[in-house]
Every structure is written in C-alpha cells, then in structure tokens.
C-alpha cells in the first residue's frame, strides 16, 4: 500500500477549515437562541423564499449569458495562431488583476447619471437610468465572471486532438458537422466546469447587487449577512439551504459531465 502520509496535512486542513465549520452551521441551523433543538430557524428561512428564487434566477441568467459570450470567444481563440492565443488570453486576464470591488466601482462610474453611457444616449435624446436595476446587476455579474467561463472552455478546446478533426473531415464532414459531432461534445467538460465556476459564486455573492442594484435587487447573500448580525440561527439555516441547493446543482452537473465524456 502506498504511503498516505503526504496527504495528512491536507486532510487536517479539510477537517479543520471545511468539515468542522460545515457541521457547526448544520448544528446552529437547528437550534434556538438558548441552544435547544428547534425548527424555528428553518421556518424563518422560508420567509425569504422570494429573495432566494430571485438570487438563483439572477445567477442562472448571468451564467447563460456568460456561456453564450464565452463559448464562441473560446472557439475563435483556439482557431488563432499560438502567439495571438496567448495575447488574447492575457487580455482576458488583465482585468482580473484588479480588485473585484474596484471593477464594480468602474461600472458605477460608467452607468451613473451623467456618466458616459447616459451622456451618449442623452445625445440621441434617450433619457434612462442605467443603474439600480436587475439588468445592471446581471451586467456586473457577467463582467466579473466571464473569465471563469472562458478559461476552462478554452483550455479543454485547445487540447482537442487536431487529428480527430482531420479524421472527421476525411470522412466527409463539413465544418458544421465537425463542430457538432467532434468539437462540441469534446468541449463539454470545459462547459460544465465553467457553468459551475460562474453559477455557484454568482448565486451567493451580494457585492454586485449591493453596488449596482436598486432596492428590489437584494440577494440572498445580503440577507444572510444582515441576519447574522443578530440571529445566527436563522442565518445558518438560510446558508444551509443555499448550500443544499448548490450541492444538488453540482451533483446534476457532474451527472451530465460524465455522460458527455462517455459519448
């Protein structure tokens, strides 16, 4: 049997910083203020169903838009010559070197009243508010998470063996058929991890909605944050429900991933 010793530090790390906190949240979610077993926190959590659904909805829309933008982009980049590929990836990465919050501030400046967008459209006689609504939140999410969708898809696509494509062409496939029958199925693992990397954080974040959204765009992360001030039990209950949702989502995603990999 191979020695397991090297993995011990990681196991300790996982137990101390992942397992124990998870168990503690699980326990806190089923207690009342005095520390007795109670279902009240769970009942309280259901009050926020609407916010919950809206958060998942915003995350879903953002993920779909990210996918629609990132997939063709990743495909186009893999078609370029190697040096341009690196430049393009670099260009995608540079904004990520900046702080998350700073990038949101930039969007506030762009979208605000008398900002560049407003100025340009006022010139055409259109007066609208571009910030403080759900669309602005989705825009912010897409901007923040697009690289997380693009990079895994690109990585997987650029590893596709060129001889498979040639073989398909030799067997009479046109470009469309090559894409449908070879490239698309083989790129699925990248798509799956991209979706996971975008959906999970955008469902739980609240910074974007706090800065770009209006009063109706509060997200579940924000509720958890505020509730934790005074009521850690309900806060834990909501966190637990959110985790279960994300877990179920990941299981479904894995299921798809395996199937596609076999096909």
């Amino acid at each position: 049997m191979k020695s397991r010793k090297p993995s011990i530090p990681y196991i300790i790390w996982m137990v101390v910083f992942t397992m124990i906190p998870l168990v503690m949240i699980g326990i806190t979610a089923f207690k009342d203020k005095q520390g007795n077993f109670s279902l009240q926190p769970m009942m309280n959590a259901f009050y926020y169903t609407d916010v919950f659904v809206k958060s998942l909805w915003i995350a879903f829309i953002s993920t779909v838009i990210c996918l629609l933008l990132a997939y063709p982009l990743a495909y186009l980049i893999t078609r370029m010559k190697k040096s341009s590929q690196n430049t393009m990836i670099m260009l995608m990465m540079i904004p990520m070197w900046m702080n998350f919050l700073l990038r949101i501030y930039a969007w506030i400046t762009i979208l605000q009243k008398n900002g560049p967008v407003d100025m340009a459209f006022s010139f055409l006689g259109i007066h609208e508010t571009y910030i403080g609504n759900t669309a602005a939140v989705v825009l912010g999410m897409v901007y923040e998470y697009l690289p997380f969708m693009m990079l895994p898809i690109y990585t997987v696509m650029s590893k596709i063996d060129g001889s498979l494509i040639e073989a398909a062409q030799d067997l009479g496939s046109n470009n469309g058929a090559v894409f449908r029958k070879v490239i698309f199925p083989l790129s699925m693992p990248g798509v799956i991890s991209g979706i996971t990397l975008v959906f999970v954080p955008s469902a739980s974040t609240f910074l974007v909605s706090q800065y770009l959204g209006g009063t109706d765009d509060i997200m579940i992360g924000d509720i958890i944050d505020k509730i934790f001030w005074t009521d850690q039990n309900t806060g834990s209950a909501i966190s637990l429900i959110l985790m279960i949702f994300i877990f179920v989502f990941l299981v479904i995603m894995n299921f798809f991933g395996d199937e596609e990999a076999i096909a």
Partner: protein
C-alpha cells in the same frame, strides 16, 4: 588550529552579544508592555492632513507598544469578544452596545484615578445613559444624525425627516442601510420615542419604512459618500460629521438638522473583561483625553469631542462653529439617546428591517 579556535570564540562571542542585545531589547519592551486596541476603522488621527499621529505619539511618550486592529460594526466587536478567545485592552463601542455589554458583564470597572484627564470631559458626556453610574466608560466622540441634500435637486430647504418620504423626490432618496438608524427616524415620525421602544413601536416604524421603500433609490451606508458627492441622489440621512466631509467635496450640498430632533450617538472607550494589560489600557484612555490629542481626533473625524478643554483651546474655529460637528446645546436637548433597547426588541427590529428589504 589556532585560527579555527579564534574563529569559534569570535563566533561564540558575537552570538552571545546578539543574544544579549535581543534579550535587552525584549526586557525594555516588557517593562512598558503592550496595549491591544480594537477600534472602528478610520477612527483615529493617523498623521494625515498635518494632524497628530496619535498611536506613534503614545508609543513615544510611554514606550508601550500599541497593537491596533479595527472592526466595522458593533456586532463584529461583540461577536469577537463573546465567541473567540482573544484579548483586547481598549475597545470603543457605541452607546447601545455598551449597555448590552454592561448587562452581560463583559466590561471591567475603570479606575478613574489613573485617568486624570477625565476631568476635561463635559458634564453631558459623563454618566452616559448607557453607563448611568459612570463606572465603565470614557466618551471618545459623539455626533447626531442629520440630513444632507442637493440644492440643485431639492427646491426648498427641508426641515423635517418627513422630506425622506417626499413623493416629488421619488427615486432620488437614500436611506440608512442599518436597522437602528432607519427605524429611529421612522419612529420619530410615528411620534414614538425610540429609546425604550417596544415591539409594537417597531411594527409601526416598519410599516412607515415599507411605505418609503418604493420611493427610495437605495439603502446605503458608506456608498452615501459617492452618491451624494457625485450628485446621483437628492437627499439622504447620515451622521453629521460625515456630512461635513461630503459638503466639502461637493458645494451643491447642504445640510439640515431636522426640527424633530435627532439621534445623539456616542462611542466610548471601555476595557473588556478579557484585558490582560488594564494599567496600560487606562494609560491609553488617559492619553486619548489629553486636550491636544482629543482635538486632533475631533478634527480628523469631524465628530464632536466630549473634551471641554480641547473644545475651548485647541479646536479650530471653523470646526467649533460648524453646527454639524458641534450642534448647539439647545439642539442637543431635543435629541434622544438610543440605548437600553432590550435584546429581544433589537433582534426583532433587525429582523423586521431585513424583511422590509426582502419584500
């Protein structure tokens, strides 16, 4: 051979001398000891704008090392003291948190003989409502909530909190994203005295706030600065000292001290039970109330100083005359202190506020 020995001896000698130096250094540090200060972020004069760098000044004068860390909310401070195994010597919570901490026996009684500068504290800020016997606290700074508005967007100078419910300003109003301050304003308009409020009062205020929500642009805390300074909103309630900062940045802005009166809040220095350096903590508290130090705190924060001597002799006239930093005694008499709210009412208040936002 000889050379090797001499090298060894030299090495040994230098090693011992280094050890001695290190040891000596340690012992002097130990003599004066340290003090662990846990304060609000950006809440102490740090040497900017020609003001005093308070912490290094204190270290220079006493030789005590200051370990300075910061928090963002009273609740963060409370959870830190309550749930984790830390040791702080000086903390600076707000009035309502102090009364909670006193109730839960989390603070040490101060020895005022070690804090001679306490004599400079104004009578209004001795025996605070949260510490009526004056045993645990030395006031650090205080202020009131006021309104800031944009003269280009609000035609007539508003005079009451009612302006935050003005339908003509719909979509341009900002509101506190903080249950206590938001509820307090709503309670005043419902003719409820926020201090000692009950759950029924909270319900009334919550209904008033729910009525306001469709008119709001946003619930904000720190974002109020960019919103108002860049002329993105018309009117907002905020802490008076910060309004002074906003007006400096945008001359279109002006302020109102609402005629309904407002919330007088203060933060005070306390020593938590977990303190291991009580003597140094008292030295630090005393230092913070030296008139010149208190004055630079006031000029940095733009919040009121409780220190009479600092106010009389050290603070610039511009700040002294500013109604925002130093409202008149007459106005202060109209203000209430929001303290002693029972824990269950406070939890209820927070819950109702979150629910309004979740609607």
């Amino acid at each position: 051979m000889k050379r090797t020995i001499s090298i060894i001896i030299a090495a040994a000698l230098s090693a011992t001398s280094v050890a001695c130096l290190a040891g000596c250094g340690e012992s002097t540090a130990k003599d004066a000891g340290e003090v662990n200060v846990y304060n609000w972020g950006e809440y102490i004069s740090n040497g900017e704008d020609g003001l005093m760098d308070v912490i290094s000044e204190f270290e220079k004068e006493t030789g005590i090392t200051v370990n300075y860390t910061t928090y963002e909310t009273n609740e963060e401070l409370y959870n830190m003291l309550k749930n984790s195994n830390v040791s702080y010597d000086v903390v600076i919570p707000s009035e309502y948190m102090i009364s909670k901490m006193i109730d839960e026996d989390m603070l040490l009684e101060l020895d005022y003989d070690n804090i001679p500068n306490y004599k400079y504290i104004m009578d209004r800020f001795k025996n605070l409502a949260c510490d009526p016997e004056g045993k645990y606290t030395v006031c650090y700074s205080w202020g009131v909530t006021a309104m800031v508005y944009d003269k280009t967007k609000v035609a007539e100078k508003p005079d009451s909190w009612e302006a935050l419910w003005d339908k003509d300003l719909s979509g341009q109003i900002l509101m506190f994203n903080n249950s206590r301050d938001a509820m307090a304003i709503a309670m005043q308009l419902c003719s409820v005295t926020p201090a000692n409020c009950t759950k029924e009062d909270v319900d009334k205020a919550a209904a008033k706030l729910a009525e306001q929500k469709p008119l709001l642009k946003k619930y904000v805390m720190d974002q109020v600065f960019t919103e108002m300074e860049n002329s993105q909103a018309a009117i907002a309630p905020y802490y008076a000292g910060d309004i002074a900062t906003m007006i400096e940045a945008n001359p279109d802005l002006d302020y109102v001290l609402p005629k309904d009166g407002s919330n007088l809040f203060y933060d005070a220095m306390c020593i938590p039970k977990c303190s291991k350096n009580k003597e140094n903590a008292e030295k630090f508290i005393n230092f913070m109330q030296k008139p010149e130090v208190a004055a630079s705190t006031c000029e940095y924060l733009r919040y009121g100083t409780p220190n009479q001597e600092a106010f009389d002799s050290y603070i610039s006239d511009e700040i002294k005359d500013s109604e925002l930093t130093s409202p008149s005694d007459d106005y202060l008499d109209k203000c209430y202190v929001f303290t002693n709210v029972p824990d269950d009412v406070y939890v209820y208040m927070q819950e109702q506020f979150v629910k309004i936002q979740a609607e």
